[in-house]
Symmetry: C2
Subunit: 324 residues, 2 copies
């Protein structure tokens, strides 16, 4: 079994070999720029890891791996426009470095390139792979729109929140794993199980992400603590707190989560103290653990030698650990 590091290296080398040398340059340069920003390459590594789980060589699944990475970067470029984000990984976002037209169009191009890459896969399940990929792409768009809609709402439920993160981020992890499994010729039961594993893992990751934004150690997480609180983002913590809070606390929390005071730090501290009072971190952790346990149960059902599952398990746990 290949390790995360080995598969990451393989993905990086293939990404570096991708040529985006078409014209006009305004359309192709942003693709190279985005892909060069780096990152964990989680999605393409998961494609290869699932392929490996079913005993196949990575070469067979490399196009699917590149497809999900290019697709993921397409969503980042368009999301950054919608979120009016100026910076990504310490560099200007595409629409800032170029302009919005370039952001929209080069994003469009990346979406098409992703499909093109997937189509290069040699597999008799390629059609099913394409269908899964398209369905997932649709769900990711739905998740983003639901997230945008949340900004205008004050009554988001935990259930709705889980549905949103599931669509916006978790289904793509499930899809990545299932594509790798399909490229290896896995049967439909195992393909469905690895998808469920990835999706639930994705939900757990996102909950962890929410928790760390409020309760993590800034340096370790690599971003400012309380950023979500300052931005009035409807995270699981805020939604849980709003569900638990009553009376004066509820009014105050609602007021705080709709304000942007000059003293941002004071607001963060006050919201955190309400979170503590209501024990929302513990509640969120319980939910996260439930998804993790359920994810591992799905992994158990897959019909391969148990030892082969070690890399996926340890990767899931290490990622969760590294984040905490």
């Amino acid at each position: 079994m290949k390790t995360y590091k080995e598969l990451y290296t393989l993905v990086e080398s293939h990404i570096n070999q991708l040529k985006f040398d078409g014209e006009p340059r305004e359309l192709y340069d942003p693709i190279s720029y985005m892909l060069a920003l780096g990152g964990k390459r989680l999605r393409p590594v998961l494609v290869l890891m699932a392929n490996d789980l079913f005993g196949k060589s990575s070469e067979q699944a490399i196009h699917a791996a590149l497809a999900v990475e290019v697709f993921h970067n397409f969503t980042l470029v368009h999301d950054d426009i919608m979120d009016k984000a100026d910076i990504r990984r310490g560099k200007p976002t595409v629409h800032k470095k170029w302009n919005e037209t370039v952001g929209i169009l080069s994003g469009d191009l990346m979406m098409i390139k992703a499909t093109q890459l997937l189509c290069e896969t040699k597999s008799d399940q390629l059609f099913q792979m394409l269908n899964l990929f398209n369905q997932t792409a649709i769900e990711v768009c739905e998740g983003q729109q639901i997230d945008m809609n949340f900004e205008q709402r004050t009554d988001v439920s935990v259930e709705e929140y889980i549905q949103m993160i599931s669509l916006k981020t978790a289904v793509l992890l499930g899809c990545s794993l299932q594509l790798g499994a399909m490229a290896a010729g896995a049967n439909s039961k195992d393909a469905a199980a690895i998808y469920a594993f990835g999706k639930k893992l994705g939900i757990a990751f996102q909950i962890q992400d929410d928790i760390l934004d409020a309760f993590g150690e800034g340096d370790k997480v690599g971003k400012k603590i309380g950023g979500d609180i300052a931005a009035n983002k409807k995270t699981l913590l805020l939604i849980t707190a709003m569900e638990k809070a009553t009376g004066e606390t509820r009014n105050r929390l609602k007021q705080l989560s709709e304000s942007t005071p000059a003293d941002e730090q004071a607001k963060i501290i006050e919201v955190l103290s309400i979170f503590d009072e209501l024990q929302v971190k513990a509640t969120a952790n319980v939910l996260k653990e439930q998804y993790l346990v359920s994810a591992f149960a799905d992994l158990e059902t897959i019909d391969v030698e148990p030892l082969r599952k070690t890399v996926l398990k340890s990767t899931a746990l290490e990622l969760m650990e590294r984040m905490s």
Copy 2:
């Protein structure tokens, strides 16, 4: 052979049956809205017409027909954002009726839906069809970016202009015809010939469109005469005029085509008089005819009973006629 009207009716009925009933509504309503704006449905009709040419029933090619129409509408939604257009077919554009986020995301969704529709085609050439569709989609993006770049330039050549309209609009006509041919199992020589026919026809249409904007009868064309001149658009006429003009005329034309005076009408009249002086209409007409003749020559090479080509020929001529 089925007529344009028959195929149009078939396309309309299938478009009306398309269900975009997913959630959130902000994402799906704009798709129904755009498709309900109507139009000639030229692209999907061409898919079915090519399918008919090779003796196959329309049902077989209907998914490809719907795919190109949904794809075309995706490009309109995103182009309208980039062009800051408020009105399309007398109705507010998607980003005006909703907002820019909805415009970007529902456009993205339409692109994916288009691929999904194409994938429903039952054909052993589906892979080649997907490859053609993706390649065309990429070229359409390139064409739009080149068009945006033209706005910043004053030295666009006729050759560059033809390349731009070829990518931005003509390749999709070629692609539509070729998809219909492939769905009918046409051989690769005939598929290439019908693509070439459609692409050249598309270039001729666009040249005609440029000519009519300056020299058409307003009511017939359905838009304001001289709109391109007022907007300083780099049409074939302006580019040809700039290539032909010398001395004072050239300076004046350059000045006019970079200005937005209060008296728009006076500017249009002056530019038109320069166009007349330089006989750019005649030059553009010659170029248009060359593309038309070459398109029909490509159609001739296709290996089907000559009588079967009548509908495609008359459609091409009627469209050109109706525009003039």
